[in-house]
Subunit: 133 residues, 2 copies
């Protein structure tokens, strides 16, 4: 792995992700950063997102189908993903330590991280479908 060099674009991407509560896609990052860097390219965004994710400075969220989402919040938390609107909500629950203990015994290798997603229909979608049905 080559030595990193400072880049304004990469810092802007990292900073952008840390200040967002939602979980933007590469496309969203690109669109928003164009205000600050009118010439930034999608390739650069993807390159840096991949780099930051590999460094563990951001988290990649593969929600089913469509583009990947990215999360700048590194504190332990989980996601609730609405299968209707595909919004990703943060939730925080306890007992993850116990889970990891169990998993470490069962896994065919050394566990480095874990990701816990819950799926369902969010309150907002549940409410609006009640109207239309």
């Amino acid at each position: 792995m080559p030595a990193l060099k400072y880049s304004r674009q990469r810092e802007a991407i990292r900073h952008f992700l840390m200040t967002r509560r939602d979980h933007p896609t590469a496309e969203t990052v690109y669109t928003c950063l164009r205000e600050e860097f009118p010439n930034i390219s999608l390739g650069t965004v993807y390159r840096n997102l991949t780099l930051l994710a590999d460094l563990g400075e951001i988290q990649r969220i593969s929600s089913d189908g469509g583009a990947e989402h990215f999360d700048g919040d590194l504190t332990p938390h989980q996601h609730f993903i609405c299968s209707r609107c595909h919004r990703i909500y943060d939730i925080r629950i306890g007992g993850i330590g116990l889970l990891l203990d169990g998993a470490k015994k069962a896994a065919p290798g050394r566990i480095e991280s874990c990701r816990l997603n819950f799926y369902g229909v969010c309150e907002q979608c549940a409410r609006s479908s009640k109207d239309s049905q």
Copy 2:
């Protein structure tokens, strides 16, 4: 949602997934089914995988990057994904019920399912990297 009609291809796809211990991609399903259905098309495979996943008869696994994987095993279990070789192993751990209880209180909606992935380097990769390093 329109009424389903029987199709040999769809049954073959479902059956194929249920008899595999690994977690094939659409491409793999396609390649293997060509032996039985020389004219089956990738489009048909994708259409049926999506359909079966929506019906909850198979599970879609979004492992980071690359193509999605599919799992015909519906019994509750978790996955350990090797970040080196990207193989997906099944593991089974307890305490998921407790977890769900906690999540149901924290989630902004009704939870229908949950998915728990662990990441790390599998024993096989760990062993082979020891040789080359």
